[in-house]
Subunit: 300 residues, 2 copies
Amino acid sequence: MRTYFDCAQCFVRQALDAARLLTDDEAIHEKVLRKVLSESSEMDFYKSPPVMGQRIHRLIRELLGNDDPYRQIKDRSNRLAMKLYPELKKKIEQSSDLLETAVRFAIAGNIIDLGVNSQLDESIIYKTIEDSMKSALFPNTINDFRNAVDQATDILYLGDNAGEIVFDRLLIEQLPYEKVTFVVRGSPVINDATLVDARFAGITDIVEVIDNGSDAPGTILEDCSPAFCARFEKADLIIAKGQGNYESLSDIKKNILFVLMAKCPVIARDIGCDVGSFVLKIGLPGIAEEVNNRKYAETT
Amino acid sequence: MRTYFDCAQCFVRQALDAARLLTDDEAIHEKVLRKVLSESSEMDFYKSPPVMGQRIHRLIRELLGNDDPYRQIKDRSNRLAMKLYPELKKKIEQSSDLLETAVRFAIAGNIIDLGVNSQLDESIIYKTIEDSMKSALFPNTINDFRNAVDQATDILYLGDNAGEIVFDRLLIEQLPYEKVTFVVRGSPVINDATLVDARFAGITDIVEVIDNGSDAPGTILEDCSPAFCARFEKADLIIAKGQGNYESLSDIKKNILFVLMAKCPVIARDIGCDVGSFVLKIGLPGIAEEVNNRKYAETT
C-alpha cells in the first residue's frame, strides 16, 4: 500500500503521542515533532507507511538514548494477554468451529497496537474480544482461510505486536503447526513483538521462530535480512498479521492471508471496508487465487 | 495563545482539506502538503496559530492562481444565514432577554468556520442554533457582557467568517450601536469575512465597517494596518469573535470580550472548557477586570 497524503497528519500525531508516552521532556517532544514534519515533507509517497514509521521510531530511540523504550509496555501487554490465555483457549475448545474462533480472537488481539492507540485501556481489549465473536469477517470467509492453509506446505506467520502474539499462539495451536514458522521483528520498534516476546508467549515451544532482521513496524522486504527473504520466497503461504504487515505487503504478488483489524480510515478505504472491520483478506495470485476462483465457480 | 505542538497535525489536515475542497488536482494537494510540512517543521511555537494559517492559505491561493477561492462558499454561507435572519430576529425580539439571545445566536454562528470544518452541513447550523438556547455560557455571564458594553464608549467588534457575520449583525442590533465599529479582514483568507460580506449582511447600513489590512485568519496586530492598529489602541472595548481572533489576541492586555464556540481541543484546553462550549470570556485588565473584581466582591 502506498502512503496516502492523509497518512502525513497521522505520522505527526503518532510521533508526538509516542514521544509524550515515553518522556515528559518537552524539548524531546519538539525535536521529534520538527524532525517528523521535515522528513515527511520530503517523503516518497510510493513507499509504504512503515518506511516513515521506522524513521520516526529510530529517531525517538536515538533522542531517548534507549534501544527499547516500549519494553515495559510490551511486558504489560504480554502479561495481560497471558492472563486471558486460559479462558480464551477454553472458549476456542468449546466452540463449534475451533479454527474460526481462533481466527476471530487473533484479529481481536490486533487491537493491542500502540502505533494506532497510544493509550490502550484493558476494557477495550475485553470489548474487542466480545465483538470478535459477533462481527462478520471481511471480505473472505473462514473456509477460504481453511482451504489456503490445507493446501500450503510451508507457512510463514508474520507476527505483529507484543501481547497480540499470545492471541496468535491461540491461532497457531489450531493450525497444522508442523508447517508453520513464526516471524518477529529483527529489533524493537514501537510495541512490535521481537524474539523475547515470542518466548514469553510460549510460541518458541510450539513452532520455529525466526526474526526478519528489520526494525520497521511492518515487513519491508528490501529492509529485511537475506535469510528472512529466502524463507519468504520459499514459503507457499504467508499469514500476515496486523496493519503494518498489510501496508508493507499488500502489493506483493504472493499467497498472503492478511489478518487484521482495520483501525485507521486510510487502510479501511484501501481494503474497502469500514473502520473497525475484522479483516481476513486473501492476497493474489497463487493458491489464494485458486481458492477465490473455485469459490467463484461454485457460486456461479 | 501560543501554537501548541498538537496544532501541527491540524495545520497538515487543514491544508490538505482546503486543497481538496478547492481543486481535484492531486499535484496541488501534494505541493500544499509538502510545503506545509516543511514550513511547520521550522515554525515559531511562540507565535499564534493564525500565523501558520495565513501562510497555508497564501500558498493555496498562489498555487490555485485564485485570490479568493472560497468566494462561492462564502456567498452560499451568506445566503443561508440571510435566509435564517428574519426568524432569528423574531426569536430575539420575543425572548425575555434580547441581548442574551443575540449573544447566543452570535456564538452559534461561529460554527460556520471552514478552518475547522472543511465541509459544513446546513443541519449542523440548525442544530447549533438550537443548542445555543440551552447551553451555559462559559466562563462569564451575560451580565458581565452587558456591564462591559455599558461602560465602554468605543467598541471595536472584530468579525470572523462569512455567513457568521449575519449572526453578528443580530447581536450588533442589540448593542448601543452608535458606539460600535465592525472590523473585517483586509483581504480574503479561508471563508473569513471581508468588506463585501459585511455589505451583503447589511452591517455597513448600521455601523461603520473598517478592515484590518491583513490576510491572516485572526487579528495578528503586527500584521495589521497602522490605521487599524490606531483604532484598536483607541477603543476601550474589543468584542473578538471566533477562534482565530481568540488565538491571536488572548495574550493582549486590553479589554477584550471573546465570543466563540470552542471547536478544537487545544483552544478548549487553553480556555479551560469542553469542546463545543459556548464561550464568553472577558480578557484582562481594565473595564473587564473591574467587572470581574466587582463580581468577585459581590459573591464573597
